[in-house]
């Protein structure tokens, strides 16, 4: 079957997204005739750029129920996460020295936490259940009067599960602890509201919502006021919290991407869900021994992380090279280490090696999904026929009972 579609099919929407042409269109004038430095206060070039930045700030704020004064533009979610964690830890270090996060957070959150640990802060890494979700009781037990901040992501980048932000926010607010969420994967995809969820800091990114790379933001609550020590010092832009010339065209694109996401979220969610269900039913339900990683219902449908039992992970990726997919998060995908997220869920190493993340997004078509299903179906069969493990299972051997020789 030769489909009338462009190969490879892009199914890696968690790594990055193609830019929406509508976004690019509004950005272009700011690259050329409207090129002013938004911090130039002495002429109309500067004012024009500033007005564009402020409009985008409002578009971004609106999507999460925040005020535009609470949005600090950064270079991306990685910087936002670093800024939130280190900024809070350093600012409140005289009274509080404890931070709570989760073992399945994005690598940049965990790395920032490790750095803080080296500086002397105390860290609690909450475990997750087999479904990838935290136990709220664990969180309650972990909070002490020395806890400065709780950092828990909205949607997991590898497995797509959604943590219960509303309940977490209730707990942190009640206990007087700041709540930061890395919403890089959730912003623009699912409804997020900083008021309803009692979120104090939120990291978001442009290029995950069909906007440009190199731009993101940190939401920082004003009432009650959250203060932080800046990561980047200098000209005092962004209320002194983040110095550096703001990239106007990128911000304009980010704002537009947020506005589109807000407007189209219900239909887009429904469309992604329909394609995701179709894919899941055809692949995981109809092919034996394919397992979904992470909770089945509390999840974003555009992210399906599946383990294909009895198949070599690398040969799988090679076999389905018509599909641009990932075996984990992009930043660590060059390494062949099995994902720490899957290991945290208790997924066995063998299965973690054969897991693949399928990302479905705005520009995924039904024809692409049909083709992807076909590619997977035919290749799984082929690969399994070559697999000695599969043969043994078919013969009724319990693989767990076998003692493997070390090599």
């Amino acid at each position: 079957m030769k489909p009338n579609i462009k190969l490879p099919i892009y199914l890696d929407y968690q790594a990055t997204t193609p830019m929406d042409p509508r976004v690019l269109e509004v950005m272009i004038p700011y690259f050329t005739e409207k090129f002013g430095n938004p911090h130039s206060r002495s002429h109309s070039y500067g004012w024009e750029a500033e007005a564009a930045v402020e409009k985008a700030r409002k578009q971004v704020a609106d999507l999460i129920g925040a005020s535009e004064k609470e949005i600090i533009f950064t270079s991306g979610a990685t910087e936002s996460n670093n800024m939130a964690l280190k900024g809070i830890a350093h600012f409140y270090k005289d009274k509080k020295d404890h931070i709570i996060t989760v073992v399945t957070e994005h690598k940049c959150v965990l790395d920032a936490c490790r750095h803080l640990e080296q500086e002397g802060f105390k860290l609690t890494y909450l475990p997750v259940g087999k479904n990838g979700l935290i136990d709220l009781q664990d969180l309650k037990n972990a909070i002490t009067d020395r806890t400065a901040i709780v950092s828990i992501m909205a949607i997991n980048n590898e497995i797509g599960v959604i943590q219960d932000l509303k309940e977490i926010g209730k707990i942190t607010r009640e206990r007087g602890v700041f709540f930061h969420t890395d919403a890089a994967q959730g912003f623009g995809k699912i409804p997020l509201n900083v008021e309803e969820m009692n979120i104090d800091l939120m990291s978001i990114s442009g290029h995950k919502i069909y906007g440009p790379k190199g731009i993101g933001a940190l939401y920082v609550r004003r009432r009650p006021r959250v203060r932080l020590e800046p990561l980047i010092n200098g000209g005092g832009q962004e209320r002194g919290m983040r110095s550096g010339t703001l990239p106007t065209p990128l911000i304009v694109g980010f704002g537009e991407a947020a506005a589109i996401a807000q407007k189209e979220m219900p239909e887009e969610y429904a469309r992604v869900k329909r394609l995701s269900d179709k894919f899941y039913n055809a692949v995981a339900r109809e092919i034996p021994d394919v397992f979904l990683n992470g909770d089945e219902t509390q999840r974003y449908p555009g992210n399906l992380n599946l383990s294909f039992a009895y198949i070599e992970g690398e040969s799988m990726i090679m076999a389905i090279k018509d599909l641009a997919v990932s075996s984990g998060s992009a930043c660590t995908s060059a390494s062949l280490e099995p994902s720490y997220v899957l290991r945290s869920l208790g997924v066995e190493e063998e299965m973690a090696h054969t897991s693949i993340r399928f990302g479905i997004g705005r520009f995924t078509t039904e024809a692409e999904i049909d083709y992807a299903i076909e590619v997977i179906r035919s290749n799984i069969e082929k690969l399994r026929q070559m697999s000695p493990l599969w043969e043994m299972v078919q013969e009724g051997v319990d693989l767990k009972s076998i003692e493997w020789a070390a090599h």
């Binding site: 002013g36 002495s42 910087e79 940049c108 000209g235 930043c331």
Partner: protein, 400 residues
């Protein structure tokens, strides 16, 4: 509208726009993804890096892409651990504020760093008493003739002093003798960073020739796009990251790379010679403007006695406040600045001029003109006429 504020930002060059848009239309591009579209992104970044290395004499150096020149400066001066940091008083705020507890070097009236003062500070970080007391001929040396030894407080590092001095000042255009300063710093076993953000595109910048260990640049100051800068580091320099995570940029700056802006950065660097070719022409225009202004009234041009960037001029309009001037010029369709863009909204007088010993009332009458590659003599003549008119009107008011 006449744009005379090219040190704040520059218009993107057409070739850069093309490169940026091509990369954007080519999206999705996450350079860390191993699939084909990820590899395409990686190639864009590698190409830009190679061009930067070539043009700035940085072969073999590490080039770390950042989100801005500010971030590159922060990374350099706050990323070194256990160093005594020395900066000049006229540095950009991104160096001054990031270098906490730094020693501040004064500058001369013309804006140049006082080398004798730098030597004194370096001396105070080191001790000659602990140095080898014998000459090559075996004679006992007087303390002041001995080579320096590291102060024991600072031992434990290969090098223990970081000096950060900008190549050219953003407000006055004054060019520091970095080559000489680098040699001096190295003779003390220290390392040197230079903020070359304003110099690039106006004078030639060659890291090997300057002899610096770290150098910051920013794309939007020479026809690139906003949102990307770089810190170039000689191999062997160790710094700690500010932003950690996915291990991008040699683990010194995590975060998905800004592929499109980096593509534009590469293109801007590739087209840099165009700016340098026009530098002489721009300098003639700038000098002409200053001559004409001074023929109207004895306006003071700051940093005049020193080597300056060919495009930059910071001068006073006696008796007329900067804020009044910038508003009047804007009404006349001319974009100028009263200092650096990042602080131009604030009313405080420039720290650069204050460091040069300019009294506050005089500093408050200064504006900065920064020419770009597209400004013309016709524009400058119009600017001078508007300047003259404004000066005459204001002084008639003052006299009345």
């Amino acid at each position: 509208m006449m744009y005379l504020d090219n040190n704040a930002t520059t218009a993107i060059k057409p070739q850069v726009k093309k490169a940026v848009l091509e990369a954007m239309e080519h999206s999705p591009l996450n350079p860390s993804s191993v699939h084909a579209s990820g590899r395409a992104a990686r190639k864009i970044i590698d190409n830009a890096r190679a061009k930067i290395a070539e043009v700035f004499g940085a072969g073999g150096a590490d080039i770390i892409f950042t989100g801005s020149g500010t971030e590159a400066n922060n990374l350099a001066v706050s990323g070194v651990k256990g160093y005594e940091v020395i900066v000049s008083a006229t540095e950009h705020s991104s160096v001054l504020k990031a270098a906490k507890n730094a020693r501040i070097l004064p500058v001369e009236e013309n804006g140049l760093v006082n080398l004798a003062e730098l030597k004194k500070v370096l001396d105070s970080c080191h001790s000659r008493e602990g140095g080898n007391p014998y000459s090559r001929d075996g004679e006992v040396l007087a303390v002041e003739d001995r080579p320096v030894a590291m102060d024991s407080r600072l031992r434990g590092n290969d090098t223990s002093v970081l000096v950060s001095i900008m190549l050219a000042n953003n407000e006055t255009g004054v060019i520091q003798p970095i080559k000489e300063i680098a040699a001096l710093v190295h003779s003390y076993g220290g390392i040197i960073h230079t903020d070359a953000v304003q110099a690039v595109g106006k004078i030639s910048v060659d890291m090997a020739d300057l002899g610096v260990d770290m150098l910051s640049i920013s794309a939007h100051k020479f026809g690139g796009s906003q949102g990307v800068g770089a810190l170039i580091m000689r191999k062997g320099i160790t710094i700690s990251p500010m932003i950690v995570g996915g291990g991008q940029e040699l683990s010194l700056r995590a975060g998905t790379e800004n592929v499109a802006a980096i593509a534009g950065f590469g293109s801007a660097v590739e087209n840099l010679q165009e700016n340098l070719d026009k530098a002489e022409e721009i300098k003639i225009l700038r000098d002409y403007m200053e001559e004409r202004i001074k023929s109207i009234v004895s306006a003071r041009v700051f940093g005049e006695g020193a080597a300056r960037l060919p495009n930059t001029s910071c001068f006073t309009m006696p008796g007329v406040k900067s804020e009044v001037q910038v508003i009047e010029f804007d009404l006349a369709g001319i974009a100028v600045s009263s200092g650096s863009a990042c602080s131009s909204g604030k009313v405080a007088a420039s720290h650069v001029l204050q460091a040069m010993g300019v009294a506050k009332p005089e500093a408050e009458t200064a504006i900065r003109i920064s020419l770009g590659i597209n400004n013309t003599k016709v524009e400058i003549d119009k600017f001078i006429e508007v300047w003259r008119g404004l000066y005459n009107r204001a002084n008639q008011r003052n006299a009345a």
